[in-house]
Symmetry: C2
């Protein structure tokens, strides 16, 4: 709520002061004032400049305090060294919103960073919120407010756009005028010292002029808050984000499988997926998707019908559709009959519907109206290539007329250059998203379908499990006292067991004699494993023996394992061997957890050691994970079929596997000290028989 | 050679007759004549129409025979029912080249199909080659020949384009004029009754006006010939192909793993990869790649340097580069020092080189010339966003000047609309491929890099192995005589063994007594497998027992296996059990072969049963496969790392695995009767120990 109130001052101020307004047309302080004056903004404007009486015909003030009335928003365009004073002035005058256009702060190095912090502290103390510094400013087309030094004013429309790159803003603005794209709000975030994408998401989600939110970001400071705000926004309108900068910021050396497979890109992908943010991988898609959302209803289902006057492009579109989550709609027999009546005999009566190269507008009209009536069709893509008989503008008009009601999304692909330009423009200004290539249209429809699915997602199914938290905390405290960051196997298993995972019966044997005794208690066959806090990859040093069937086997294995360890890792502290119940018959799964810099604990799921190591076939989600996402994590992994049972095999206990993901998620959230963890393998038994955590590794870290 | 001679008549005729020339401007026969007359074609034109004396001011002839001089090319635009007569006339007059524009043939159904065949037979008998029917015609910009009814004449340039879709031709033509794209040849293939992509590849590979060949195809009749022609063409110039129509034409039910994983798309991918054809997956890429090739030298290596005046787009480009086969060039310390001298201190001196938002043309010039001198830089992408100080046209001029020598490819991305339009046009007409988005530029550079690699590919390494072909032929003949299409396991293993594969010692036992005897001969442990020509998936019916260590084990297993088979597959003919040597210690590989409708035998490689079945992690190549492609097949599979040895494991015998692929390829080429085959598993032993084909399945088919 606080954000909405304060951002309202940025977007709907009653009065704006420009600190550093200038008569010199080459200066930013001149451009900003000009933009404010010439784009219809109805509020009061106060240029501030001690060396001028009038700028652009407006009375100019030597400083803020000499303005008698209240000032809602200040745009600061003075050199960097004067910004701090200007912000102080704002605080004194009671100005609550300031856009700092000026560059020369954090982006230039240490000195600038300090200056930026001072500005921010001064602002916070004085109750001033800051957009920037080092930004282009912002634009609200609803009230003609152009508080930026952008060289152009965008058209008015329903797309809100924010960007961490100012240059991208300028390029996009320029391009939008040619493509006829209109914006509701247009915001350059700059250094994000105060106002960030978090504030904008909250504000834009409720902005009545905005139908779709677009963002370009390079990094997120508070991932968890981003997920909350993004989820809330997505419930109200589509959010399409392009994320630039694939380099992993967190360079902490990873010692677990999970750690080495994770990375900030994986975290972003997971977070976007969980919150329903549509990720655009190219700038082109960012806007292609936005156009589709801006003017279309969300489709009822995935069925796309393609209407074309050319076979080739129709095939290309159908191919693209097959590669997407959209589906080629199956036409009803009634629709096919209607098409047979209205198209020539050589036409295509199934999807893609081919109206044939000599189609005029009337034939498109007949095909389109038949197709849009079909309940199996959830949306249509009209493809037009300019041929001898083609009525480009007539067809555009037809499409616009048919789309009066707008119960189903209609997209268009007019292919060509000058011959189709006018028709394409008519469509765009009439609200039909129009693309130059069929694939773009299909991908845009696919984005609509994916958003629909997102909105239909059932409850996330968060669950709470009873866990012996005290016992787990005890183990961690002991590790802290001992100054150990990597827990020994026994400790790790104790935590896992405290979380309610079933673990194999297991006991530490310090001598071969003890080992035999424990094996008899456990029942043969058993497994022997080296027990040492210093040995992480036990198999690498011959530290594991399975399927030991006799006391003799156990005795021999104990001696071999411990002597291997002494020989290969002479410095390691060896406690002895664990004697474990041998669990057989399950499928190997690996569960993991790692800490992402922006998003916090992230959970990993994969099949068996080899699928993870050799194939990297794993999925990630940010914790807390609900039952819905846990199920999706499992299905996302290609080797998941192994759990479902191949060739009539009995399926594995999928519910048990899902619950294990949820328990791990709960553990990760409850214990922020745990920074990396693998449960490997988790044996998932046949349906109804649960899952057993065979081995676990846990790394903890304590804030110093 | 024959093709080149006959196509020369199509592209460089001394005279052209238009059969069906018309005075009616709405008719195709009028458009064609007009296009021939008005675009500078210097040869003689003969309109043919019995009902006119003059058309478009040209003397008109009642029929071909009344033209006294020789006619090189005829364009036929009469109604479908008169086409046969016209072709007959062509033959009579000695016309060797005819473009049949007229539609109404194969594409309309059975009747049209018959008519098309008659036309083709008549033409072949009379020595007339046919382009079409049902096509737009062709254009040669070198001599102003526009023998089409396209509404526009393209600019002259170095891109040759052929398309199976006529409508795509029109759209592309229209669009090319706006984007400033020039063509050397422009050909609409229509129904490809005679002249197809095969003829064009041969002709265009040697066409001096063509620097890059572009094609849109939906299907290929003769895949093997396509591969030959494409390989030859690629040696001379880049060939970029978009393939439309992903539906599998061959619907023969597949009973092997290989068969079910293959499909015509896989075959196209394999064929394109083997021949070095660059596959474009969108129309946009088709032309983006073409533009890069048309005006640029092929880069020496993969190192791309990005020069930008905006951070965001620079990051986007770097991300795209990381996802491609191109690499971000590492700048030398000398280059970095030079950049430090010429850029402001806040600039980016590493790659991406950031000249900062206020850069004018001179700063771009300094950065570009420093970067292009760096031997680690193989090409550059210049990104420009229109900002306050940006000199769009000045920068374009700078880029063009620096690119005078053209020793390294330079591509540009000018982002925006009207502000950058003029600059982008200057670059395009000056021969710098210019894209609206950074990702397009990077993908285009990547295409250049891939083409470079293709040209540097070493010898394919075809090998010939000594095989006992007679023995294999004997087995197949016996199957033919017995009327069996699926070979029994013993027969399959005999063929595999005749090909030089090592197979486990194996003998058929008809009784449990015989089984014990054979097991003793073989040496314990052994494997028992059901032997039946009717049982393909042996494990599914409990037909395999491994690790049998005693005579007692063998006896029991024999009785269980055979009774399982009788119970679960009562109709199957059971010969007994195979007693096999148990081979241990290798890694499971699956090799397969299937027959593709267009390309013939296709070889498959994958790891183990589970990787193939559950993950579909396989690679394909068209036979014959050489050593180079066999190696690539193995590396293409993600699970290949299993063979290289994980975590210090001993690597498998990769040479043996490769030779097995080559042997299978040779078998497939030598025996066209074999239509499907799996060697599953092939156990690849540790390095130096070879590979053993454990089990094989072979399906044969005899032409009736």
């Amino acid at each position: 709520m606080k954000t909405s109130v304060s951002l309202r001052r940025f977007f709907n101020p009653s009065s704006v002061a420009v600190i550093g307004a200038s008569r010199d047309a080459a200066k930013v302080g001149h451009s900003v004032l000009g933009n404010l004056k010439h784009n219809g903004y109805p509020g009061k404007l106060y240029p501030v400049n001690p060396n001028a009486k009038k700028i652009l015909g407006l009375k100019t003030y030597p400083d803020l305090s000499s303005i008698r009335d209240a000032v809602d928003l200040a745009v600061i365009a003075v050199p960097a060294r004067f910004v701090l004073d200007s912000v102080r002035e704002c605080a004194g005058k009671g100005v609550r919103a300031a856009i700092v256009i000026t560059a020369g702060f954090k982006e230039t190095g240490e000195e600038g960073h300090i200056l930026e912090r001072q500005v921010l502290e001064t602002a916070a103390a004085g109750g001033v919120r800051i957009l920037g510094p080092n930004c282009l400013g912002l634009i609200n087309t609803a009230n003609g407010l152009n508080a930026s030094f952008a060289p152009l004013m965008p058209r008015s429309g329903s797309i809100a756009f924010f960007s961490q790159s100012g240059a991208l803003c300028t390029a996009i603005l320029d391009w939008s005028l040619v493509r006829g794209v209109g914006f509701s709000k247009f915001v350059s975030l700059g250094n994000k010292s105060d106002i960030s994408e978090l504030d904008l998401l909250e504000y834009l989600a409720d902005d009545p002029q905005t139908r779709v939110i677009l963002g370009y970001i390079e990094g997120i400071a508070n991932g968890r808050e981003f997920m909350e705000k993004a989820s809330e926004a997505v419930r109200k309108k589509p959010l399409v984000v392009m994320k630039g900068g694939g380099t992993a910021a967190g360079a902490r050396a990873a010692s677990s499988h999970t750690g080495s497979l994770a990375g900030s890109e994986k975290a972003f992908d997971a977070a976007f997926r969980q919150t329903g943010v549509l990720r655009a991988h190219t700038i082109e898609d960012l806007f292609n998707f936005a156009l589709a959302f801006a003017d279309n209803p969300v489709p009822e289902g995935p069925g796309l019908c393609i209407v074309t006057n050319a076979g080739g492009p129709g095939i290309i579109a159908a191919d693209a559709c097959e590669r997407s989550t959209a589906r080629m709609a199956e036409l009803s027999s009634g629709t096919v009959a209607a098409l047979r009546r209205s198209l020539p005999p050589t036409g295509g009566f199934y999807n893609p519907v081919d109206v044939i190269g000599d189609a005029r507008a009337d034939r498109y009209a007949a095909a389109m109206s038949a197709v849009l009536k079909d309940p199996g069709v959830d949306g249509a893509l009209v493809i037009l290539t300019p041929q001898a008989m083609t009525e480009v503008e007539g067809t555009a008009r037809t499409i616009l007329q048919l789309q009066g009601g707008k119960s189903k999304p209609v997209l268009a692909c007019f292919m060509g250059g000058n011959s189709i330009r006018k028709g394409a423009e008519m469509l765009r200004s009439g609200g039909i998203p129009t693309y130059p290539y069929p694939e773009d249209g299909v991908r845009a429809f696919d984005a609509l379908v994916r958003y629909r699915r997102e909105r239909e997602k059932p409850d996330p199914g968060f669950m709470h499990f009873d866990m012996d938290t005290e016992r787990a905390r005890g183990v961690i405290s002991r590790a802290r006292e001992a100054g150990r960051n990597e827990l020994g196997e026994k400790d790790a298993r104790e935590i896992v067991s405290a979380c309610g995972f079933r673990t194999p019966r297991s006991a530490l044997a310090r001598t071969s004699g003890e080992a035999v005794k424990e094996a008899v208690k456990t029942g043969f066959p058993v497994v022997l494993k080296i027990s040492s806090p210093d040995i992480l990859h036990k198999t690498d040093i011959g530290g594991v023996r399975v399927n030991l069937r006799t006391p003799r086997d156990v005795e021999k294995a104990f001696l071999e394992i411990t002597s291997n360890a002494r020989r290969l890792m002479p410095g390691a502290m060896v406690w002895g061997c664990l004697v474990q119940e041998m669990v057989a018959g399950g499928k190997e799964v690996i569960l993991g957890m790692t800490l992402d810099q922006s998003f916090g604990p992230m959970i990993m799921f994969g099949m068996g050691g080899i699928y993870v190591e050799a194939l990297g076939d794993v999925s990630f989600r940010i914790a807390p994970v609900g039952a819905l996402e846990a199920g999706a994590m499992m299905e996302e992994v290609r080797s998941f079929r192994l759990l479902k049972g191949l060739r009539g095999e009995r399926p594995s206990d999928l519910n048990a596997a899902r619950d294990c993901i949820l328990r791990l998620s709960q553990l990760a959230v409850d214990f922020p000290e745990i920074v990396e963890m693998d449960i490997n393998p988790l044996l998932v038994m046949p349906e109804g028989e649960g899952a057993v955590a065979i081995d676990a590794r846990i790394v903890v870290n304590f804030p110093s």
